[in-house]
Symmetry: C2
Subunit: 98 residues, 2 copies
Amino acid sequence: MQKLSDIQIDELLKLIEGWKLANDKWLEKKYRFQDYLIGVEFVQKIANLSEELNHHPFISIDYKLVTIRLFSWRAKGITELDFELVKKYDEVYKELMP
Amino acid sequence: MQKLSDIQIDELLKLIEGWKLANDKWLEKKYRFQDYLIGVEFVQKIANLSEELNHHPFISIDYKLVTIRLFSWRAKGITELDFELVKKYDEVYKELMP
């Protein structure tokens, strides 16, 4: 899968909420949770998805704030797969924090 | 709980493996796993422990590398509680990666 151009990334970012290109490198979003363990459950679900697709984002848990960073190492950039995952992660969040 | 002095921290660090004082601030250890989902299970267990004790470390998952950072916000430093948790985390790791 080829990496997307900056213009393509900008266009795709307009269609989603809360995501940005951080450090000119990775797609990043900070998810906030009302409950610590719901945030941890979110991480668990994201991790299972990542393993299925063999595409693992960087994840951090800072109490009720979970940060996700996506990057495609093989393509050395952002690919369509990253944007597909963005949507899946947002869906998981919506399920847990309706 | 009062924060420990630098000398106390140095002495306690000698008794444990892989932990260091990072950025002159928090206790940090990087745990490496053979399997991504075992690392995620480790995070789940650490999180449950943290919630029970109401003392939540910073956690990051970078594929098979899990980083834990401990700090006592109320004491504005490292306390005995942090060192107690260090032992518990190492035990959990030992169970998962015998």
